[in-house]
Protein backbone atom coordinates (compact mmCIF):
# COMPACT_ATOMS: atom_id res chain seq x y z
CA UNK A 1 0.00 0.00 0.00
CA UNK A 2 1.33 3.43 -0.90
CA UNK A 3 0.83 6.29 1.53
CA UNK A 4 1.62 9.88 0.56
CA UNK A 5 4.07 12.02 2.56
CA UNK A 6 1.08 13.93 3.97
CA UNK A 7 -0.47 10.71 5.27
CA UNK A 8 2.87 9.65 6.76
CA UNK A 9 3.30 12.99 8.51
CA UNK A 10 -0.16 13.00 10.14
CA UNK A 11 -0.07 9.28 10.92
CA UNK A 12 3.25 9.56 12.72
CA UNK A 13 2.43 12.87 14.44
CA UNK A 14 -1.34 13.08 14.73
CA UNK A 15 -2.51 16.56 15.72
CA UNK A 16 -4.96 17.30 18.50
CA UNK A 17 -5.56 13.95 20.11
CA UNK A 18 -8.51 14.03 22.45
CA UNK A 19 -9.88 14.84 24.85
CA UNK A 20 -9.92 18.65 24.78
CA UNK A 21 -7.88 20.11 27.60
CA UNK A 22 -9.38 23.58 27.99
CA UNK A 23 -12.33 24.55 30.20
CA UNK A 24 -15.93 24.68 29.11
CA UNK A 25 -18.60 22.42 27.61
CA UNK A 26 -17.56 19.78 25.11
CA UNK A 27 -19.65 18.24 22.32
CA UNK A 28 -18.95 14.67 21.24
CA UNK A 29 -19.58 12.79 18.02
CA UNK A 30 -18.88 9.09 17.64
CA UNK A 31 -19.26 7.13 14.41
CA UNK A 32 -18.30 3.78 12.94
CA UNK A 33 -17.18 0.58 14.60
CA UNK A 34 -14.17 -1.72 14.35
CA UNK A 35 -16.27 -4.02 12.16
CA UNK A 36 -16.80 -1.15 9.70
CA UNK A 37 -13.05 -0.60 9.48
CA UNK A 38 -13.01 2.67 11.42
CA UNK A 39 -14.26 4.05 14.70
CA UNK A 40 -13.90 7.79 15.19
CA UNK A 41 -14.58 10.08 18.14
CA UNK A 42 -14.62 13.84 17.55
CA UNK A 43 -14.76 16.19 20.52
CA UNK A 44 -15.17 19.94 20.24
CA UNK A 45 -14.96 22.71 22.82
CA UNK A 46 -16.94 25.70 21.69
CA UNK A 47 -16.50 29.24 22.94
CA UNK A 48 -18.71 32.04 21.70
CA UNK A 49 -19.98 29.95 18.80
CA UNK A 50 -16.49 29.11 17.59
CA UNK A 51 -14.54 25.86 17.72
CA UNK A 52 -11.93 26.73 20.31
CA UNK A 53 -10.54 23.20 20.41
CA UNK A 54 -11.33 20.17 18.21
CA UNK A 55 -9.77 16.78 18.96
CA UNK A 56 -10.09 13.25 17.68
CA UNK A 57 -9.46 9.64 18.55
CA UNK A 58 -9.54 7.04 15.80
CA UNK A 59 -9.20 3.33 15.28
CA UNK A 60 -8.66 2.70 11.60
CA UNK A 61 -6.29 2.53 8.70
CA UNK A 62 -3.51 5.12 8.17
CA UNK A 63 -5.79 7.21 5.94
CA UNK A 64 -8.40 7.44 8.69
CA UNK A 65 -5.87 8.60 11.28
CA UNK A 66 -4.25 11.09 8.91
CA UNK A 67 -7.65 12.31 7.65
CA UNK A 68 -8.93 12.92 11.17
CA UNK A 69 -5.73 14.74 12.12
CA UNK A 70 -5.92 17.03 9.09
CA UNK A 71 -9.64 17.70 9.46
CA UNK A 72 -9.57 18.68 13.14
CA UNK A 73 -6.49 20.84 12.66
CA UNK A 74 -8.33 22.90 10.05
CA UNK A 75 -11.50 23.33 12.08
CA UNK A 76 -9.93 25.23 14.96
CA UNK A 77 -11.25 28.78 15.07
CA UNK A 78 -14.09 28.09 12.65
CA UNK A 79 -17.76 28.67 13.49
CA UNK A 80 -19.35 25.59 15.08
CA UNK A 81 -21.47 25.07 11.95
CA UNK A 82 -18.26 24.21 10.07
CA UNK A 83 -18.55 20.72 11.58
CA UNK A 84 -21.24 20.13 8.96
CA UNK A 85 -19.16 21.48 6.10
CA UNK A 86 -16.59 18.70 5.87
CA UNK A 87 -15.98 17.60 2.28
CA UNK A 88 -14.86 13.92 2.16
CA UNK A 89 -14.11 13.99 -1.57
CA UNK A 90 -11.78 16.98 -1.26
CA UNK A 91 -9.85 15.40 1.61
CA UNK A 92 -9.73 12.08 -0.26
CA UNK A 93 -8.07 13.81 -3.21
CA UNK A 94 -5.63 15.59 -0.94
CA UNK A 95 -4.66 12.33 0.80
CA UNK A 96 -4.45 10.38 -2.48
CA UNK A 97 -6.98 7.99 -0.96
CA UNK A 98 -7.88 4.87 -2.98
CA UNK A 99 -11.47 5.18 -4.13
CA UNK A 100 -12.47 1.97 -2.34
CA UNK A 101 -11.52 3.59 0.97
CA UNK A 102 -13.74 6.65 0.57
CA UNK A 103 -16.24 5.07 2.97
CA UNK A 104 -13.75 5.55 5.80
CA UNK A 105 -13.91 9.32 5.33
CA UNK A 106 -17.70 9.17 5.30
CA UNK A 107 -17.39 7.78 8.83
CA UNK A 108 -15.35 10.87 9.71
CA UNK A 109 -18.09 13.00 8.18
CA UNK A 110 -20.67 11.19 10.34
CA UNK A 111 -18.57 11.76 13.47
CA UNK A 112 -18.29 15.50 12.74
CA UNK A 113 -22.02 15.78 12.08
CA UNK A 114 -22.82 13.80 15.23
CA UNK A 115 -20.60 16.20 17.16
CA UNK A 116 -22.58 19.17 15.81
CA UNK A 117 -25.86 17.43 16.61
CA UNK A 118 -24.62 16.77 20.14
CA UNK A 119 -23.79 20.45 20.53
CA UNK A 120 -27.17 21.50 19.18
CA UNK A 121 -29.12 19.16 21.47
CA UNK A 122 -27.14 19.45 24.69
CA UNK A 123 -26.30 23.14 24.84
CA UNK A 124 -28.81 25.78 25.84
CA UNK A 125 -29.70 28.17 23.05
CA UNK A 126 -27.80 30.95 24.80
CA UNK A 127 -24.54 29.02 24.52
CA UNK A 128 -24.86 28.43 20.76
Amino acid sequence: MHYSPLVREHFDRPRQLGPPRGPGPVARGLAGSPAEGACILIEARVVDGRLEEVTFRALGCPWVIAGCSLAVERLVGAPVAALAGFDPAALAAELDLPVERLGRLLILQDALQNCLADWDTTQPATAR
Partner: protein, 384 residues
Protein backbone atom coordinates in the same frame (compact mmCIF):
# COMPACT_ATOMS: atom_id res chain seq x y z
CA UNK B 1 17.62 -0.52 7.01
CA UNK B 2 14.43 -2.57 6.93
CA UNK B 3 14.36 -5.68 9.08
CA UNK B 4 13.08 -8.50 6.92
CA UNK B 5 10.71 -10.77 8.87
CA UNK B 6 8.56 -12.03 6.01
CA UNK B 7 10.33 -15.28 5.19
CA UNK B 8 7.05 -17.22 5.00
CA UNK B 9 6.20 -15.03 2.01
CA UNK B 10 9.60 -15.38 0.38
CA UNK B 11 13.16 -16.02 1.51
CA UNK B 12 16.25 -14.19 0.29
CA UNK B 13 18.20 -16.21 -2.24
CA UNK B 14 21.16 -17.84 -0.51
CA UNK B 15 24.47 -16.44 -1.87
CA UNK B 16 25.57 -19.95 -2.83
CA UNK B 17 22.37 -20.41 -4.83
CA UNK B 18 22.81 -17.05 -6.53
CA UNK B 19 26.44 -17.82 -7.38
CA UNK B 20 25.65 -21.18 -8.95
CA UNK B 21 22.67 -19.78 -10.87
CA UNK B 22 24.75 -16.88 -12.17
CA UNK B 23 27.49 -19.27 -13.23
CA UNK B 24 24.94 -21.46 -14.97
CA UNK B 25 23.45 -18.48 -16.79
CA UNK B 26 26.89 -17.47 -18.03
CA UNK B 27 28.01 -20.98 -18.89
CA UNK B 28 27.92 -21.44 -22.67
CA UNK B 29 27.83 -25.17 -22.06
CA UNK B 30 24.43 -24.90 -20.35
CA UNK B 31 22.56 -22.95 -23.01
CA UNK B 32 21.19 -25.93 -24.88
CA UNK B 33 17.67 -27.25 -24.58
CA UNK B 34 17.77 -30.07 -22.03
CA UNK B 35 15.57 -32.17 -24.31
CA UNK B 36 18.07 -31.99 -27.17
CA UNK B 37 19.77 -35.25 -28.04
CA UNK B 38 23.23 -33.77 -28.67
CA UNK B 39 26.09 -33.63 -26.19
CA UNK B 40 25.30 -30.09 -25.08
CA UNK B 41 21.75 -31.13 -24.26
CA UNK B 42 23.16 -34.07 -22.35
CA UNK B 43 25.33 -31.70 -20.28
CA UNK B 44 22.26 -29.71 -19.30
CA UNK B 45 20.36 -32.89 -18.48
CA UNK B 46 23.19 -33.93 -16.18
CA UNK B 47 22.91 -30.71 -14.20
CA UNK B 48 19.14 -31.03 -14.01
CA UNK B 49 19.54 -34.61 -12.80
CA UNK B 50 21.85 -33.35 -10.08
CA UNK B 51 19.24 -30.80 -8.97
CA UNK B 52 16.48 -33.40 -9.11
CA UNK B 53 18.50 -35.70 -6.86
CA UNK B 54 19.05 -32.90 -4.36
CA UNK B 55 15.33 -32.06 -4.16
CA UNK B 56 14.48 -35.76 -3.86
CA UNK B 57 17.02 -36.21 -1.05
CA UNK B 58 15.47 -33.34 0.92
CA UNK B 59 12.21 -35.26 1.30
CA UNK B 60 13.39 -38.87 1.19
CA UNK B 61 12.21 -39.45 -2.38
CA UNK B 62 13.78 -40.94 -5.49
CA UNK B 63 14.90 -38.51 -8.21
CA UNK B 64 12.50 -40.01 -10.72
CA UNK B 65 9.63 -38.99 -8.46
CA UNK B 66 10.31 -35.24 -8.77
CA UNK B 67 8.42 -33.21 -11.39
CA UNK B 68 9.49 -29.60 -11.95
CA UNK B 69 6.82 -26.94 -11.93
CA UNK B 70 6.70 -23.16 -12.06
CA UNK B 71 6.13 -23.02 -8.30
CA UNK B 72 3.90 -24.27 -5.53
CA UNK B 73 0.66 -22.99 -7.01
CA UNK B 74 1.18 -25.11 -10.09
CA UNK B 75 2.34 -28.06 -7.99
CA UNK B 76 -0.76 -27.84 -5.79
CA UNK B 77 -3.04 -27.52 -8.83
CA UNK B 78 -1.39 -30.45 -10.57
CA UNK B 79 -1.62 -32.61 -7.47
CA UNK B 80 -5.22 -31.84 -6.56
CA UNK B 81 -6.82 -31.49 -9.97
CA UNK B 82 -4.56 -33.97 -11.72
CA UNK B 83 -5.12 -36.73 -9.16
CA UNK B 84 -8.84 -36.07 -8.74
CA UNK B 85 -9.51 -36.13 -12.48
CA UNK B 86 -7.48 -39.26 -13.09
CA UNK B 87 -9.37 -41.12 -10.38
CA UNK B 88 -12.80 -39.70 -11.18
CA UNK B 89 -14.11 -43.05 -12.35
CA UNK B 90 -13.38 -44.47 -8.92
CA UNK B 91 -14.84 -41.61 -6.90
CA UNK B 92 -15.35 -37.87 -6.92
CA UNK B 93 -14.86 -36.85 -3.31
CA UNK B 94 -11.88 -34.91 -1.92
CA UNK B 95 -11.08 -34.05 1.68
CA UNK B 96 -9.03 -31.01 2.62
CA UNK B 97 -8.90 -28.37 5.34
CA UNK B 98 -10.45 -24.92 5.18
CA UNK B 99 -7.08 -23.56 6.37
CA UNK B 100 -5.18 -24.73 3.28
CA UNK B 101 -3.33 -22.40 0.93
CA UNK B 102 -5.57 -20.65 -1.56
CA UNK B 103 -3.98 -22.59 -4.44
CA UNK B 104 -5.34 -25.83 -2.96
CA UNK B 105 -8.71 -24.35 -2.04
CA UNK B 106 -9.15 -22.73 -5.46
CA UNK B 107 -8.24 -26.02 -7.16
CA UNK B 108 -10.92 -27.71 -5.04
CA UNK B 109 -13.42 -25.00 -6.04
CA UNK B 110 -12.63 -25.74 -9.67
CA UNK B 111 -13.24 -29.45 -9.15
CA UNK B 112 -16.48 -28.72 -7.33
CA UNK B 113 -17.66 -26.64 -10.29
CA UNK B 114 -17.19 -29.74 -12.41
CA UNK B 115 -19.18 -32.17 -10.31
CA UNK B 116 -16.73 -33.20 -7.63
CA UNK B 117 -17.64 -33.06 -3.97
CA UNK B 118 -15.21 -31.44 -1.50
CA UNK B 119 -15.16 -31.64 2.29
CA UNK B 120 -13.28 -28.69 3.83
CA UNK B 121 -12.59 -29.55 7.44
CA UNK B 122 -12.43 -26.74 9.97
CA UNK B 123 -9.52 -26.64 12.37
CA UNK B 124 -9.86 -26.61 16.12
CA UNK B 125 -9.10 -23.43 18.05
CA UNK B 126 -5.38 -24.20 17.87
CA UNK B 127 -5.35 -24.62 14.09
CA UNK B 128 -5.09 -28.41 14.21
CA UNK B 129 -6.97 -30.77 11.91
CA UNK B 130 -7.14 -33.93 14.02
CA UNK B 131 -6.55 -37.20 12.12
CA UNK B 132 -9.78 -38.72 13.55
CA UNK B 133 -11.71 -35.79 12.03
CA UNK B 134 -10.17 -36.64 8.67
CA UNK B 135 -10.94 -40.33 9.12
CA UNK B 136 -14.56 -39.45 9.88
CA UNK B 137 -14.82 -37.37 6.70
CA UNK B 138 -13.63 -40.16 4.39
CA UNK B 139 -16.19 -41.88 2.19
CA UNK B 140 -16.00 -44.91 -0.07
CA UNK B 141 -15.77 -42.51 -3.02
CA UNK B 142 -12.97 -40.39 -1.49
CA UNK B 143 -9.93 -40.45 -3.76
CA UNK B 144 -7.70 -37.71 -2.35
CA UNK B 145 -6.83 -36.00 0.92
CA UNK B 146 -4.84 -32.75 0.75
CA UNK B 147 -3.30 -31.23 3.89
CA UNK B 148 -0.43 -28.82 4.40
CA UNK B 149 2.35 -29.83 6.79
CA UNK B 150 2.96 -26.31 8.14
CA UNK B 151 0.32 -23.62 7.85
CA UNK B 152 1.63 -20.58 5.98
CA UNK B 153 -0.12 -18.07 8.25
CA UNK B 154 0.12 -19.54 11.73
CA UNK B 155 3.02 -22.00 11.42
CA UNK B 156 0.90 -24.75 13.00
CA UNK B 157 2.25 -28.22 12.20
CA UNK B 158 -0.19 -30.97 11.23
CA UNK B 159 0.36 -34.65 11.99
CA UNK B 160 0.84 -35.64 8.36
CA UNK B 161 2.27 -39.07 9.20
CA UNK B 162 -0.93 -40.05 11.02
CA UNK B 163 -3.08 -38.77 8.16
CA UNK B 164 -0.82 -40.52 5.65
CA UNK B 165 -1.21 -43.81 7.48
CA UNK B 166 -4.98 -43.68 7.50
CA UNK B 167 -5.09 -42.74 3.81
CA UNK B 168 -2.70 -45.53 2.89
CA UNK B 169 -4.84 -48.10 4.74
CA UNK B 170 -7.81 -47.07 2.62
CA UNK B 171 -6.04 -46.71 -0.73
CA UNK B 172 -6.67 -42.94 -0.82
CA UNK B 173 -4.03 -40.65 -2.31
CA UNK B 174 -2.46 -38.22 0.16
CA UNK B 175 -1.14 -34.84 -0.98
CA UNK B 176 0.93 -32.60 1.30
CA UNK B 177 1.73 -28.95 0.62
CA UNK B 178 5.15 -28.83 2.28
CA UNK B 179 6.28 -25.40 1.10
CA UNK B 180 6.66 -23.98 4.61
CA UNK B 181 7.95 -27.25 6.04
CA UNK B 182 10.85 -27.86 3.66
CA UNK B 183 14.17 -27.08 5.31
CA UNK B 184 12.46 -26.50 8.66
CA UNK B 185 10.55 -29.65 9.64
CA UNK B 186 11.61 -33.27 9.19
CA UNK B 187 10.18 -34.64 5.95
CA UNK B 188 10.27 -38.24 4.82
CA UNK B 189 7.67 -39.11 2.23
CA UNK B 190 8.08 -42.84 2.88
CA UNK B 191 7.52 -42.88 6.63
CA UNK B 192 4.86 -40.19 6.32
CA UNK B 193 3.04 -42.24 3.64
CA UNK B 194 2.81 -39.26 1.30
CA UNK B 195 1.88 -39.82 -2.35
CA UNK B 196 2.14 -36.24 -3.60
CA UNK B 197 4.10 -33.34 -2.11
CA UNK B 198 4.39 -29.73 -3.27
CA UNK B 199 7.59 -27.73 -2.83
CA UNK B 200 8.60 -24.17 -3.64
CA UNK B 201 12.18 -22.99 -4.15
CA UNK B 202 11.70 -19.43 -2.97
CA UNK B 203 10.39 -20.53 0.42
CA UNK B 204 13.76 -22.18 1.12
CA UNK B 205 16.26 -19.57 -0.05
CA UNK B 206 16.02 -20.54 -3.70
CA UNK B 207 14.79 -18.54 -6.70
CA UNK B 208 11.19 -17.61 -7.48
CA UNK B 209 9.48 -19.19 -10.46
CA UNK B 210 10.35 -22.80 -9.80
CA UNK B 211 8.87 -25.53 -7.66
CA UNK B 212 8.41 -29.25 -7.69
CA UNK B 213 5.78 -31.88 -7.20
CA UNK B 214 6.79 -35.20 -5.71
CA UNK B 215 4.72 -37.96 -7.26
CA UNK B 216 5.51 -41.31 -5.71
CA UNK B 217 6.45 -44.03 -8.12
CA UNK B 218 3.37 -45.96 -7.07
CA UNK B 219 1.21 -42.91 -7.86
CA UNK B 220 2.73 -42.15 -11.27
CA UNK B 221 0.07 -42.77 -13.86
CA UNK B 222 -2.61 -41.75 -11.39
CA UNK B 223 -2.16 -38.02 -12.03
CA UNK B 224 -3.42 -36.27 -15.16
CA UNK B 225 -1.39 -33.39 -16.62
CA UNK B 226 -2.84 -29.89 -16.67
CA UNK B 227 -0.66 -28.73 -19.56
CA UNK B 228 -0.19 -30.34 -22.95
CA UNK B 229 2.79 -30.15 -25.26
CA UNK B 230 6.07 -32.03 -25.43
CA UNK B 231 6.72 -35.06 -23.32
CA UNK B 232 8.90 -33.42 -20.69
CA UNK B 233 8.63 -34.62 -17.11
CA UNK B 234 7.10 -37.89 -18.29
CA UNK B 235 4.31 -35.95 -19.92
CA UNK B 236 3.12 -34.61 -16.57
CA UNK B 237 4.55 -31.14 -17.05
CA UNK B 238 5.41 -30.39 -20.65
CA UNK B 239 7.51 -27.36 -21.53
CA UNK B 240 11.25 -26.70 -21.70
CA UNK B 241 12.74 -27.15 -18.24
CA UNK B 242 13.94 -23.84 -16.77
CA UNK B 243 17.53 -24.97 -16.43
CA UNK B 244 18.97 -22.17 -14.30
CA UNK B 245 15.94 -21.99 -12.01
CA UNK B 246 16.05 -25.72 -11.47
CA UNK B 247 19.78 -25.60 -10.74
CA UNK B 248 19.04 -22.92 -8.17
CA UNK B 249 16.33 -25.01 -6.54
CA UNK B 250 18.71 -27.96 -6.40
CA UNK B 251 21.36 -25.94 -4.57
CA UNK B 252 18.73 -24.51 -2.23
CA UNK B 253 17.49 -28.04 -1.48
CA UNK B 254 21.02 -29.27 -0.74
CA UNK B 255 21.60 -26.37 1.64
CA UNK B 256 18.19 -26.87 3.26
CA UNK B 257 18.94 -30.54 3.89
CA UNK B 258 22.43 -29.87 5.24
CA UNK B 259 21.34 -27.01 7.47
CA UNK B 260 17.89 -28.07 8.57
CA UNK B 261 18.86 -29.14 12.09
CA UNK B 262 21.04 -26.13 12.84
CA UNK B 263 18.73 -23.62 11.12
CA UNK B 264 15.72 -25.05 12.90
CA UNK B 265 17.37 -24.98 16.33
CA UNK B 266 18.56 -21.40 15.87
CA UNK B 267 15.22 -20.17 14.54
CA UNK B 268 13.32 -21.86 17.36
CA UNK B 269 15.40 -19.90 19.86
CA UNK B 270 14.84 -16.63 17.97
CA UNK B 271 11.13 -17.34 17.54
CA UNK B 272 10.73 -17.91 21.27
CA UNK B 273 12.68 -14.74 22.08
CA UNK B 274 10.46 -12.78 19.72
CA UNK B 275 7.26 -14.17 21.21
CA UNK B 276 8.54 -13.45 24.72
CA UNK B 277 9.13 -9.81 23.75
CA UNK B 278 5.88 -9.16 21.91
CA UNK B 279 3.80 -11.33 24.25
CA UNK B 280 4.66 -8.97 27.09
CA UNK B 281 2.53 -6.25 25.47
CA UNK B 282 -0.97 -6.44 26.99
CA UNK B 283 -3.76 -7.62 24.70
CA UNK B 284 -1.52 -9.65 22.38
CA UNK B 285 -2.68 -13.17 21.50
CA UNK B 286 -0.65 -15.93 19.89
CA UNK B 287 -2.52 -17.48 16.98
CA UNK B 288 -2.23 -21.23 16.65
CA UNK B 289 -1.09 -24.07 18.84
CA UNK B 290 1.51 -22.92 21.37
CA UNK B 291 3.76 -25.96 20.91
CA UNK B 292 2.91 -27.63 17.60
CA UNK B 293 4.38 -24.88 15.48
CA UNK B 294 7.18 -24.46 12.97
CA UNK B 295 10.39 -22.73 13.95
CA UNK B 296 9.97 -19.66 11.78
CA UNK B 297 6.47 -18.20 12.30
CA UNK B 298 4.93 -16.17 15.11
CA UNK B 299 1.40 -14.98 14.30
CA UNK B 300 -0.28 -12.66 16.78
CA UNK B 301 -3.51 -10.71 17.04
CA UNK B 302 -3.50 -7.40 18.84
CA UNK B 303 -6.54 -6.02 20.64
CA UNK B 304 -7.41 -2.36 20.21
CA UNK B 305 -5.47 -1.66 17.02
CA UNK B 306 -6.20 -1.91 13.32
CA UNK B 307 -4.02 -4.27 11.30
CA UNK B 308 -3.09 -2.02 8.39
CA UNK B 309 -2.11 0.81 10.71
CA UNK B 310 -0.08 -1.61 12.80
CA UNK B 311 1.82 -2.72 9.70
CA UNK B 312 2.39 0.90 8.71
CA UNK B 313 3.48 1.91 12.19
CA UNK B 314 6.02 -0.93 12.00
CA UNK B 315 7.20 -0.10 8.50
CA UNK B 316 10.85 -0.44 9.50
CA UNK B 317 10.05 -4.16 9.62
CA UNK B 318 8.91 -6.03 6.50
CA UNK B 319 5.95 -8.08 7.74
CA UNK B 320 2.65 -9.50 6.52
CA UNK B 321 -0.72 -9.17 8.15
CA UNK B 322 -1.44 -12.73 7.04
CA UNK B 323 -0.71 -14.65 3.90
CA UNK B 324 1.11 -12.48 1.34
CA UNK B 325 -1.07 -14.18 -1.25
CA UNK B 326 -4.12 -12.46 0.32
CA UNK B 327 -2.46 -9.11 1.06
CA UNK B 328 -4.76 -7.22 -1.30
CA UNK B 329 -7.86 -8.46 0.47
CA UNK B 330 -9.67 -6.32 3.04
CA UNK B 331 -11.31 -9.41 4.48
CA UNK B 332 -10.13 -10.91 7.78
CA UNK B 333 -8.02 -14.04 7.43
CA UNK B 334 -10.18 -17.15 7.09
CA UNK B 335 -7.45 -19.18 8.80
CA UNK B 336 -7.63 -16.96 11.90
CA UNK B 337 -11.43 -16.89 11.85
CA UNK B 338 -11.28 -20.71 12.03
CA UNK B 339 -9.31 -20.34 15.26
CA UNK B 340 -12.29 -18.51 16.69
CA UNK B 341 -10.79 -15.04 16.48
CA UNK B 342 -13.28 -12.17 16.08
CA UNK B 343 -13.16 -10.29 12.75
CA UNK B 344 -11.43 -7.41 14.55
CA UNK B 345 -8.74 -9.64 16.06
CA UNK B 346 -8.33 -11.51 12.78
CA UNK B 347 -7.82 -8.19 10.99
CA UNK B 348 -5.24 -7.02 13.52
CA UNK B 349 -3.02 -10.07 12.98
CA UNK B 350 0.66 -9.79 12.22
CA UNK B 351 2.79 -12.62 10.91
CA UNK B 352 6.46 -12.44 11.87
CA UNK B 353 8.43 -15.03 9.93
CA UNK B 354 12.13 -15.59 10.49
CA UNK B 355 14.80 -16.98 8.22
CA UNK B 356 18.40 -17.99 7.82
CA UNK B 357 19.59 -14.39 7.72
CA UNK B 358 17.59 -13.20 10.77
CA UNK B 359 19.79 -12.07 13.66
CA UNK B 360 19.16 -11.86 17.39
CA UNK B 361 19.60 -8.07 17.19
CA UNK B 362 16.86 -7.85 14.57
CA UNK B 363 14.51 -9.84 16.77
CA UNK B 364 15.17 -7.54 19.74
CA UNK B 365 14.65 -4.46 17.58
CA UNK B 366 11.45 -5.87 16.06
CA UNK B 367 10.11 -6.48 19.57
CA UNK B 368 10.82 -2.88 20.54
CA UNK B 369 9.25 -1.49 17.37
CA UNK B 370 6.17 -3.64 17.92
CA UNK B 371 5.68 -2.36 21.48
CA UNK B 372 6.13 1.25 20.33
CA UNK B 373 3.71 0.82 17.40
CA UNK B 374 1.00 -0.72 19.56
CA UNK B 375 1.41 2.03 22.17
CA UNK B 376 1.16 4.71 19.47
CA UNK B 377 -2.02 3.29 17.97
CA UNK B 378 -3.68 2.73 21.33
CA UNK B 379 -2.91 6.33 22.26
CA UNK B 380 -4.71 7.44 19.08
CA UNK B 381 -7.68 5.04 19.42
CA UNK B 382 -10.89 5.90 21.29
CA UNK B 383 -11.11 4.39 24.78
CA UNK B 384 -12.69 0.94 24.58
Amino acid sequence: MTIYLDHAASTPVDPEVAAQMAAALADAGLQANPSSAHAMGEAVRARIAQARAAVAALIGARPVEIVWTSGATEANNLAVIGAARMRAARGRHIVTAASEHVSVLAACDELEAHGFSVTRLVTDGDGIVAPPAIAAALRPETTLVSLMQVNNETGVVQDVAAVGALCRERGILFHVDACQAAGREPIDVRSQAVDLMSLSAHKMHGPKGVGALFISRETAGRVEPLLFGGGQERGLRPGTIATQQVIGMGVAASLAAARRSSDSARLTTLRDQLWQAIGEVPGVYLNGHPQRRACHIVNVSVAGVEGESLLFAMREVALSSGSACAADSDEPSAVLRLLGRSPELAKSALRFSLGRTTTAEEVVQAGRLFAAAVAHLRRVAPAA
